[in-house]
């Protein structure tokens, strides 16, 4: 196996999944985003999005806070420092692989 393919095989599989990659990329660009924004941007169903967010939260990449804005419930998500660093590494690996192909 070539060196580049070996690097690609080592990417974080949790982030590499397209739906989770979208979620993490969106959260990387901001301080926090609510559930409604993530749902509209990823076009995932509520259940799907919840499931992906749970996996990211269990891995320590995302923090989820359930709060209220007035009387309206609000679920706000943000990337942890671990999640941010892991995504940055992922981007570097992918960029290196694409450049060398």
């Amino acid at each position: 196996m070539s060196h580049d393919l070996r690097d690609l095989v080592r990417v974080d599989r949790l982030i590499h999944e397209p739906a989770r990659l979208m979620i993490v990329a969106i959260l990387y660009a901001v301080k926090s985003a609510d559930f409604l924004y993530l749902r509209r941007e990823t076009d995932l169903t509520k259940g799907n999005l919840s499931s992906h967010l749970s996996k990211l939260e269990q891995a320590g990449y995302v923090e989820i806070e359930k709060t209220y804005k007035g009387k309206i419930p609000l679920t706000v998500c943000c990337l942890t420092e671990t999640g941010r660093k892991t995504f940055e590494e992922y981007r570097q690996q992918l960029k290196k692989f694409v450049e060398n192909t």
Partner: protein, 215 residues
């Protein structure tokens, strides 16, 4: 797949402009500037009003910016976030490199402004080029914004600003008239662009019960 994260990041960063409110805000600020120049042309030199316009205008602008920024935030909370969701942007602390860059840009702006001023003093026919420089103002703001955020309408706004500059150069509009017309028209263009964007956004989105914020 490789550019999926980049596209998502870019799209998220441009969310601030989705409803056109920022453009409407900036447009009204430019119209205010145009109004200031218009009033100044009909003000007797040395009058109290002229002094107020010269020395007090900065205070008026700062007050306007704070008020309208607050209004934009309130409007977003009322109309935008319930429709398409809420995001909070990161504020990166300025490191030494960012501070050095900011100071260099400020110094370069002062240098360019001084050189242009000296040029216009010495070379009167250079004033004919003033409208082109004025048109460049809008290009300098909206072209980078268009590229960074991938928003086509910002390319159109940059082109509109350049077109105004060229038009005023061709019909030889300079001095206060140039300032009044440029800021009035470009500001008006921004308000129209922002208004169309807001109308499109409001008609294409809704705050239905399905769009709830709970998983």
């Amino acid at each position: 797949m490789s550019d999926l994260p980049e596209r998502a990041i870019r799209r998220t960063r441009s969310y601030w402009y989705i409803d056109g409110l920022a453009e409407i805000n900036f447009g009204f600020l430019l119209i205010l500037l145009g109004l200031k120049f218009f009033v100044q042309t009909s003000t007797p030199p040395g009058s109290k009003l002229e002094n107020l316009l010269n020395y007090g205008f900065l205070v008026i602008v700062i007050g306007f910016v704070f008020t309208t920024s607050w209004l934009v935030r309130v409007a977003k909370e009322r109309f935008t976030y319930p429709r398409t969701g809420f995001i909070s942007y990161r504020r990166k602390p300025m490191d030494l490199r960012a501070w050095v860059f900011t100071v260099l840009i400020a110094l370069a702006s002062i240098l360019v402004g001084s050189v242009l001023y000296a040029l216009f003093q010495v070379w009167q026919s250079a004033l004919d080029w003033l409208p082109i420089f004025q048109g460049f103002f809008g290009v300098a703001i909206f072209l980078p914004l268009a590229y960074l955020n991938g928003l086509r309408r910002f390319y159109l706004l940059a082109a509109f600003s350049a077109l105004l500059g060229i038009l005023f150069a061709l019909v030889e509009v300079t001095g206060w008239s140039l300032m009044v017309l440029y800021y009035g028209l470009f500001g008006g263009g921004l308000v129209v662009s922002g208004g169309i964007t807001l109308w499109t956004y409001m008609t294409q989105t809704s705050t239905t019960q399905e769009e709830s914020n709970e998983p």
